[in-house]
């Protein structure tokens, strides 16, 4: 195992030096760590093939992020975002607690039907960010609510990609997950959004807020109903293809692009040649991180570092497995939450569902919730980084700090489900 330790330390070291000493972008640091790991690990001529192959592991996610960012920029530039924010505040300002919960569910919705926190944060999150801020939340609080909504959305049914990855790893059909996932996520969503936001919005005074909404109101008046068309198209297409499954799935990238296309004609004039490159430029760092993650995991796997990490976790005394699962899976999420599902989620699922005789569905659902926290872990922190971006928070760490208590509650809830999977399964 010693050679694996050397490779692991070297990869980690190069990554840290690149990130913190040389101030390279995270994606570039990961690529450098992968290259050095591959050379030291003796991958030789296979190095370049494996680096490119690793990138392919995240092609679908990269396409979703790029298209979601184009959609977001279009609705921002067209005035659609302003109009929708003003409308929601006007209709629900009398019941701020209910409004907060409603907003949380709206943030979760795209995650629920795509299984991606990024999709949730970039679509509904970006729409709800100004609403939350107009209600009285500061940018960090708004970002924290959006990030946590993204995490819970990606785990809530019907589509939970994290659970699906583990299902494929241990040959469990994706059947019977709706109940356990609803019980895992919706109570948490209500508690977390109230915990984070209620203190900020309970004294919401709509009359005082009105002058601040002038710009948004003007857009609504100028363009009327048609300003909302991109959102309506997005929701209809998602329901049509993801929920009702009327025909073959178009996929989220095409759905985002079709909705963005509609947005070109429904509000302020948009210069496509300016807006689209700007959107892609904004998404580039995250897309680069994902490419770096792909290379990093592929090299880790080929050089034995992945096996080292898995066996180190499982070698700990069995009474610590619960704590190990609740810490190692989110920590590996610093590289990639979906990667954590495959690398650590599957072995822990074997342990809890097969070796310890738990209920497979509840075990998988709980592990997927634990894995979702990985999307808050720096440096990749997809949910956190995008939440910071849509709320204009410069330092993402402020959002992470604010989310620590909700994350602890989430992990405790998931750990309870994992430990008592048979008991929970008895409820369904």
């Amino acid at each position: 195992m010693t050679p694996y330790v050397i490779t692991f330390v070297l990869m980690l070291g190069v990554f840290m030096v690149g990130c913190f000493a040389l101030k390279w972008p995270v994606g570039v640091s990961m690529m450098a760590a992968a290259v050095i790991g591959a050379i030291e690990g003796g991958l030789g001529t296979e190095t370049i093939r494996m680096m490119v192959e690793g990138e392919f592991g995240y092609v679908d996610t990269i396409l979703t992020i790029a298209s979601a960012m184009v959609f977001m920029k279009v609705i921002e530039d067209s005035g659609g975002l302003d109009a929708l924010s003003s409308l929601i505040i006007e209709k629900f300002h009398k019941v701020p607690a209910i409004l907060l919960i409603l907003i949380m569910f709206i943030i979760m919705f795209p995650g629920m039907i795509t299984g991606s926190s990024t999709a949730a944060v970039l679509s509904a999150g970006s729409i709800m960010a100004p609403v939350l801020m107009l209600m009285g939340c500061d940018a960090v609080t708004a970002g924290s609510i959006i990030a946590m909504g993204g995490l819970l959305g990606m785990i809530a049914p019907p589509v939970n990609t994290a659970a699906l990855i583990i299902c494929a790893g241990i040959d469990v059909p994706y059947v019977g997950f709706t109940g356990p996932l609803l019980l895992l996520t919706f109570p948490l969503a209500i508690i977390i959004v109230l915990l984070l936001g209620l203190r900020k919005v309970k004294n919401l005074d709509y009359e005082k807020l009105k002058p601040a909404l002038e710009k948004q109101d003007a857009v609504r008046k100028q363009y009327g109903f048609k300003i909302y068309l991109p959102f309506i198209v997005l929701v209809i297409l998602m329901i049509f293809f993801k929920v009702l499954k009327v025909t073959e799935d178009l996929g989220m990238p095409v759905i985002f692009l079709l909705s963005a296309f509609v947005g070109l004609f429904t509000g302020r004039k948009i210069n496509v040649l300016k807006t689209v490159p700007e959107a892609i430029r904004t998404a580039t760092p995250v897309m680069a991180i994902l490419m770096g993650v792909g290379m990093f995991i592929e090299v880790m796997t080929a050089t034995g570092v992945r096996g080292l990490i898995v066996m180190t976790c499982l070698s700990l005394p069995s009474i610590l497995w619960l704590i190990v699962a609740c810490t190692s899976i989110p920590l590996f999420g610093a590289v990639s939450s979906f990667g954590a599902c495959s690398v650590l989620g599957v072995p822990f699922a074997y342990i809890y569902a097969s070796y310890l005789g738990g209920n497979a569905v509840v075990v998988l659902a709980a592990i997927s919730l634990i894995a979702s926290v990985g999307d808050m872990m720096p440096p990749t922190a997809l949910a956190g980084l995008f939440a910071a971006q849509v709320t204009g928070v410069k330092q993402y760490t402020k959002i992470l700090k604010k989310c620590i208590i909700p994350i602890v509650i989430l992990l405790a809830w998931a750990a309870f489900f994992l430990a008592k999977s048979k008991l929970i399964a008895g409820l369904f």
């Binding site: 694996y4 296979e46 490119v52 494929a168 994706y174 096996g307 070698s315 599957v346």
Partner: protein
């Protein structure tokens, strides 16, 4: 400053182009590599294409060869599927060893060693596995075979849905399972490429009235269904006798019933949608497991892995890994011996021998394990 920027951009671009060419060439070679399966001198009496059973496969990578070994006397028939999961090389190699080595006295043996050719043509991203494995034969020549992916190549079938809905059961599975051939049975004539292949196999069994089908697989040593035979309920009696036959030869094998609620697999759907006796064989493969360490061709061939040694000590495995290895020669030998034992059990189940299948020249299990050199069993 601007000039400096242009220079660095050009350098990065040049490096990117070089990487693209190197990686692209590697992927191209993998995709287009043709394995030389030797029929000369073997008992193969004819070969024909899978598209015979689904014309939609014509012109696709999935239009693979079916190798037929016909006995001197007519009798029953068996279909052996290899390479369903192309990252499980024992299934692929065992099918090749059998078609190159077996002789048939009575009945017909159909072998499709590359049933998932699309999966053989690429590797799984993030898994860091080798592209090829090599063996030196008796005459000193080196033969090369694919090590591939569990799933079909995205070039042939992409994008994946969020959730794959199996037809006709309506069961939901992970979206990537839409490219898993062994989740697509009984198949769809006009479906995805994997569904079309599955349809062809189902149609072949019905058309040729094939009596028994054995799908050869491998599984992670930490996976509960391991060193096992999974049998459809109609095939359970034959499977039970086959397992006893193997036990008498000191080969231990678990017997697992095909789960009624897990759809799309050969042992479930071919049993339900055809009259064949559907069986699936599993054997432990460290090179596909999630506990594995350094992943290369050596691991595939020898099955030696320090991480699995630790896992064995922790009691986390479902195979006996006390020797510290699980070589490919042993895994292939188990499959070959398994097929012979189940054919024998099938023959024993017949009231008369009109539909019997009699095979000969089966490589000896103990000899294969002892020599630990698969190349000796290739032509």
């Amino acid at each position: 400053m601007k000039k400096k920027g242009i220079i660095s951009t050009c350098i990065i671009l040049a490096i990117a182009i070089v990487c693209t060419v190197i990686a692209g060439t590697s992927f191209y070679n993998k995709r287009n590599f043709k394995e030389d399966i030797v029929t000369e001198g073997s008992a193969v009496t004819r070969t024909y294409k899978l598209s015979t059973y689904n014309k939609n496969l014509k012109g696709t990578i999935a239009n693979v060869d079916i190798y037929v070994l016909e006995g001197k006397e007519p009798g029953g028939s068996i279909l052996i599927l290899g390479g369903t999961h192309a990252n499980e090389p024992a299934g692929h190699m065992a099918a090749i060893v059998m078609l190159e080595q077996l002789t048939v006295e009575k009945g017909t043996v159909y072998v499709i060693p590359q049933i998932n050719m699309s999966g053989l043509s690429h590797n799984d991203p993030l898994e860091g596995q080798p592209q090829f494995i090599h063996f030196t034969t008796k005459d000193g020549s080196v033969r090369t075979f694919h090590f591939g992916s569990r799933a079909a190549n995205p070039i042939d079938q992409w994008p994946d849905p969020d959730i794959y809905t199996h037809k006709p059961s309506g069961q939901g599975l992970s979206g990537s399972e839409t490219r898993n051939l062994n989740r697509c049975y009984p198949g769809q004539k006009y479906g995805t490429l994997s569904e079309q292949v599955a349809y062809a196999v189902t149609n072949m069994i019905n058309t040729e009235k094939i009596d028994m089908e054995i799908d050869l697989h491998e599984s992670s040593p930490e996976y509960a269904v391991n060193n096992a035979c999974v049998a459809h309920e109609r095939a359970m009696a034959i499977a039970a006798e086959g397992v006893l036959n193997l036990e008498m030869d000191d080969i231990s094998m678990r017997l697992e019933p095909s789960p009624v609620t897990l759809h799309g697999l050969t042992h479930r759907e071919l049993g339900d949608f055809t009259d064949t006796y559907a069986l699936l064989l599993e054997v432990g493969n460290p090179s596909q497991g999630r506990f594995r360490g350094y992943t290369d061709e050596k691991l595939v061939i020898t099955g030696e892995d320090p991480c699995y040694v630790i896992a064995q000590k922790l009691g986390l495995l479902y195979v006996d890994y006390s020797a510290g290895n699980f070589p490919l020669s042993l895994r292939v030998a188990r499959h070959v011996a398994g097929c012979a034992a189940f054919i024998q059990a099938y023959n024993d189940s017949l009231d008369d021998d009109a539909r019997a299948i009699i095979i000969d020249n089966v490589p000896d299990y103990h000899e294969m394990v002892e020599t630990d050199d698969l190349g000796l069993y290739l032509r």
